[in-house]
Point group: C2
């Protein structure tokens, strides 16, 4: 079947003239045009009822654009929603910046935007403003997305790595590394039965489920690029505390484990895109885990370790009974994972 | 002189590990790390004192990255500041999303970030949050930037194209098209004496200078991609009014005029990145022009036309005494101008 030129992005779709308007009307306004995007103003005028907001941004360059468990569109929503959530914000508004390569199949763009719309609806956030650019063939790699996000700060959370005290507990909401391993397996054409599926998902409901224990929550992160190892090392860097992990408690899915063995990659270094890492007091940990396990996205939530007085060190108590230092990953381990 | 590998962006700068942290510390934290970026949280928690905010985004893919009168860094600040300003907002916070190509010279990145920092300082906006991705050589074209911006809404402006009434006046704050012509001349290696310089600049002080006449201001835009022709046509589309322009009053710099003649491009179709277009009542126009002309960025401000009852049409009264319909530019006239 011949692919018609009209079924692909043309350079002229980015020139600011008639074809630009047609593309925006057909693909953006049709999906997102009901709210503040209506009439395509230069910016969106939005009500805000909190006296503090949470503001964040991420660019997405994941390759391949579609992978087991998601695509760049829902990933862009989840990444930004999750950054707001772990800062103690309720996600409200998103911006959508698209950079499209000349020749991009319109079908692929439509699938990505459909996923993005569905994810935004599921997270109760609104795409309020956007921008679309087109570059010539060979000047980007298919499709890059930037989302910035604004949320309203929940005053109940007072979050800082400086809050961490020896004895505090480390919780994760589910298995780690599935997103990174799923993208890698797709990119390297590794086909295994029951291979990893991306965990790309929002974590804001998990954050809100911990609201009754908010006073005992010290800090939250989502372990994306660099994995659990990077996030935990950042927490203890230049701090008077350390972290001890129990390897036997760190949840890794069978699919992620298989790809991890094949590629020789440590699951602690690999990105999740739908997991919540929380540090809380020892007394509050059981209640938070119970609340998380009652949610579909928290069924496999578990305590993986605790804060120690071993300054600046993240240590793994291995299955074999040994101790291993968990370092920040070095080098170009996983480019374009998100 | 050999260029050392260390003087360039490496793929590993984007992996989320140690080299990523080093790049962010050396290039981002050193410039922007004093305020809400300090400690590199997933998002910035920011005070907001208005009950409405203005939220906007733009991606910048301009080629060449540096051009007469600016570079992609200050352009990214001005583009987003101006979108907030024309919506009646006071620009406050920016996000900074970088997509870097492996091999990008670090010197170039530093010049761009220096310009971006200087422009943000001059506009009194703060880079509050950011994200940096690296893609392999050949997967983007040097450097793309996304900025999203948040401003506090000035309640005094009630802006909408629906406000336009026959007899209203059209003002511009200075010559049109210089940015687009400067970028095109640089890209096409057109070297002429006194060639065009980009007009890349903020317009928020011009907006604020019109505050005493706010009740008489109908609508504002900055005529970027697609130029004055696109912006004016969008205003009258499906509306009961039209616009009449006087060609003799439309300011075009000598450099822009020269490139326009060389390339056969209509200055009405070419982007400015530091000009304000305003529609206001006939009675308020002289006071607004006087206020603008008192500012360095508004010295050449002028009235270029008025709103008519000729529904949906933008008409140019030519120098020769004729009438010409001003249409939206078609096709791929000017890709990667911003």
């Amino acid at each position: 079947m011949p692919v018609h030129k009209e079924d692909r992005i043309l350079l002229a779709h980015g020139g600011g003239g008639r074809l630009s308007r047609d593309l925006i009307d057909a693909e953006i306004v049709s999906r997102f045009g009901d709210g503040p995007l209506k009439g395509l103003p230069d910016g969106a005028t939005l009500p805000i009822s909190s006296d503090h907001m949470v503001f964040t941004t991420d660019s997405f360059v994941v390759q391949p654009i579609e992978f087991p468990g998601g695509n760049i569109g829902d990933l862009a929503v989840h990444g930004t929603v999750n950054d707001i959530a772990v800062c103690g914000g309720v996600p409200r508004w998103l911006s959508l910046g698209l950079i499209l390569e000349e020749g991009l199949p319109l079908d692929l763009l439509r699938r990505v935007l459909d996923s993005l719309k569905a994810a935004a609806d599921a997270c109760d956030v609104t795409v309020a403003t956007g921008d679309t650019k087109v570059v010539a063939a060979g000047q980007c790699d298919g499709l890059f997305i930037n989302t910035a996000g604004v949320g309203e700060k929940l005053e109940t959370f007072q979050l800082s790595p400086a809050n961490l005290q020896p004895g505090d507990r480390i919780l994760v909401s589910g298995p780690v590394g599935d997103h990174g391993f799923a993208v890698l397996a797709a990119r390297e054409s590794i086909h295994i039965q029951n291979g990893p599926q991306s965990d790309s998902a929002p974590v804001h409901r998990l954050v809100q489920a911990a609201l009754p224990q908010a006073a005992d929550v010290r800090f939250m992160r989502d372990p994306t690029r660099g994995g659990l190892a990077s996030v935990l090392n950042e927490m203890v860097e230049d701090a008077p505390i350390g972290i001890s992990l129990k390897e036997e408690h760190i949840p890794v899915s069978p699919g992620a484990h298989a790809v991890s063995e094949l590629l020789g990659l440590d699951p602690l270094h690999v990105a999740s895109e739908g997991r919540l890492l929380m540090v809380c007091s020892a007394t509050s940990a059981p209640d938070i885990l119970t609340a998380w396990q009652a949610l579909p996205e928290g069924q496999q939530a578990i305590e993986i370790g605790e804060v120690t007085s071993e300054a600046g060190r993240v240590v793994l108590q291995t299955l074999m009974g040994g101790r291993r230092l968990v370092d920040v990953p070095r080098g170009e381990l996983l480019p374009r994972i998100c």
